[in-house]
């Protein structure tokens, strides 16, 4: 029956009625999740899973949505259970393995993270990004030969992807082979699209090797060329402090267009001597996964500054960073290398 001229479908995009179907609840959950409204998303997705008419094919997506929200809220135990349920519903649901591996990484369970990535690669060996992350797990487990083998395979799967140089750079840096690390960083410096990463990574190489003057020079090159972020100034200031200079002069003035409440402005203010470490902690977000990332940066940047100023109480903060920072963070690797140098 065609009645299009008279007909109006009134679409209620967020559903939420008591009699809503499993599909409507699922849709409302997805929409709320996309808007970062996790409270609402969890309510709708829970209702979707409780609905008798939710298709089995949608159960994995509903479980995964719950896990993604719980992960973002820092409720990691709940998130782990959700990802387990996702995989139980659909053993081929790639995102669940990827997120569960990320969660393991967050807990520094690198063997378990690598196992999840191996599980995906068993049915999707073409996923170079998964192989890339498994290489990093191997690197942090100290299995450098496995890491290099995975990284080489990544290079085969994604020829000419500049990020492959970054992976090899990082592995050689952590292996202590600074010369090979810098060869890969230089390849990035020479790339017209990725030279910023090149300066940054070469700075990390030199910093990790204890050559703080060269590191500061690289960080300054990064700072001049990437004005949209404050991290180059922070690293440059730390490298200056490691040479016995005043970090405040390396920080310079904050760009006028930066919101003073934007992270990592509190860390920069600390480096300028304008606020205390307690003030920095107070400026962190109160909870959620973002707090963990900020705590990592606080531990590293304040701990390492203290160490370079001769205050060895900073070592405990570096140890905390090496235990808590996320696998993908540069602060994790820098903390590990700094601790290797300390008595």
């Amino acid at each position: 029956m065609r009645k299009s001229l008279e007909l109006v479908f009134a679409l209620c995009l967020l559903g939420g009625k008591a009699e809503a179907s499993g599909y409507t609840e699922l849709n409302a959950g997805l929409a709320a999740g996309a808007d970062a409204r996790c409270d609402l998303a969890v309510a709708h997705l829970t209702a979707a899973l409780a609905a008798p008419n939710l298709l089995p094919a949608f159960q994995a997506a509903a479980h995964y949505g719950l896990g993604a929200c719980h992960f973002n809220e820092g409720k990691l135990t709940l998130a782990a259970a959700d990802f387990d349920a996702t995989v139980a519903s659909d053993p081929m649901y790639r995102d669940a393995y990827i997120s569960r591996a990320d969660l393991h990484d967050l807990n520094h369970e690198f063997s378990e993270a690598a196992a999840d990535r191996t599980a995906i690669l068993a049915f999707a060996p073409q996923m170079s990004v998964v192989l890339y992350d498994r290489a990093r797990d191997c690197e942090l487990l100290g299995r450098m030969d496995d890491a290099i083998a995975d990284a080489s395979r990544v290079k085969t799967l994604s020829p000419s992807d500049p990020f492959d140089f970054m992976l090899l750079n990082e592995i050689y840096r952590m292996k202590g082979d600074t010369a090979k690390a810098i060869v890969n960083a230089n390849a990035l410096v020479e790339n017209k699209n990725y030279f910023l990463l090149g300066y940054r990574e070469r700075g990390f190489d030199n910093f990790g090797a204890g050559d703080f003057a060269r590191a500061q020079s690289d960080f300054d090159d990064w700072k001049i060329r990437e004005r949209g972020t404050l991290y180059p100034a922070l690293w440059s200031a730390l490298a200056a402090a490691a040479q016995g200079s005043d970090p405040a002069s390396a920080v310079g003035g904050l760009p006028a267009n930066f919101d003073v409440n934007t992270w990592p402005v509190p860390l920069l203010k600390f480096y300028q001597g304008r606020i205390s470490s307690e003030d920095v902690t107070k400026a962190m977000v109160p909870d959620g996964i973002l707090r963990r990332y900020q705590q990592c940066e606080v531990d590293f940047f304040i701990g390492d500054l203290e160490v370079h100023r001769g205050d060895m109480s900073g070592k405990a903060k570096l140890e905390n960073a090496a235990k808590e920072c996320h696998t993908t963070s540069t602060e994790l690797r820098a903390a590990i290398l700094e601790l290797k140098r300390l008595p």
Binding site: Y23, A34, A61
Partner: protein, 307 residues
Amino acid sequence: MKTSLARLASLTTLFCTIAALASAQDGQPCRLMRMASLDMSLGWAGDISVPINISGRNFLFRVDTGDTVSVISSGAASILGNNVLNSVDHLEFMGKIDLDRYILAKNMQVDQLGGEEFKFMIAPQRLLGPSDGLIGADFLANFDLDIDFAANKLNLFDPNHCPGKVVYWTRDAYADMPIELNNGGHITVAVTLDGKAINADVDTGADRSSLGYETAVHLFNLEGNSKLQKLNMSVNGGPRHTIYRYPFDSLSFGAISVSHPEIDILPDQAWGVGIAPMIIGRNVLRALHLYVAYKEHKLYATPAEAH
């Protein structure tokens, strides 16, 4: 040279099946002939993917009606071992990467459909999320595209049927509306947003519905409006931008009416070239059962759970 998208699309291999040939011969052209029926995989962002087999290997490709050219990840292309060819034309992908290499995938199987060679531009895996590629209009527009979101099925039908005889899933009312196929296959419909007539692309690859900033300012005079919500977020998996979200009163296209749609307003630099001033994304589309009759230039729709 930048892509002539229409030119790339013209290289599409024609797919055929024995069933389709039979349909043309049996004297019942009004009967819809289903050529493929695929279970969809639903992602957290509401994105939909379908299984595709190439040379005996199983892949998962995202269905993107807003993408004119199909794309394969570098990893999938590499593992297939096909010759990588350099394209004369370059395709700007996700607003930042020039794609200039492609493969001709041999022995491609989409449910019962088989194809000898199909062109996929090669994109970095990291831009494709967990999928192995994107199926775009250069493939989809060879068929009628039936997206049954609520049943989690994507069907492809033979486009040779009697006009208007497609809504097979319900005897209830349905909406239909003309579509234009622009710039290599974008599905463009006429919509009314808060009383203003505007064209919009129906885009299964877009998370949310959106307007370009220029359109929002000039047509709706929204600059400085206190209801504009400022956000900093990634646009469809690409770079983060400052975007605005605005609660419009009503959106309608054909007989479909959406009350109080929240529409994102994207900066002009994040707005693709050659697309309509508005995009209808999955936050609206997932509430519908859609049937795109590309050849007939018509879009049919009912509520998602109509049956």
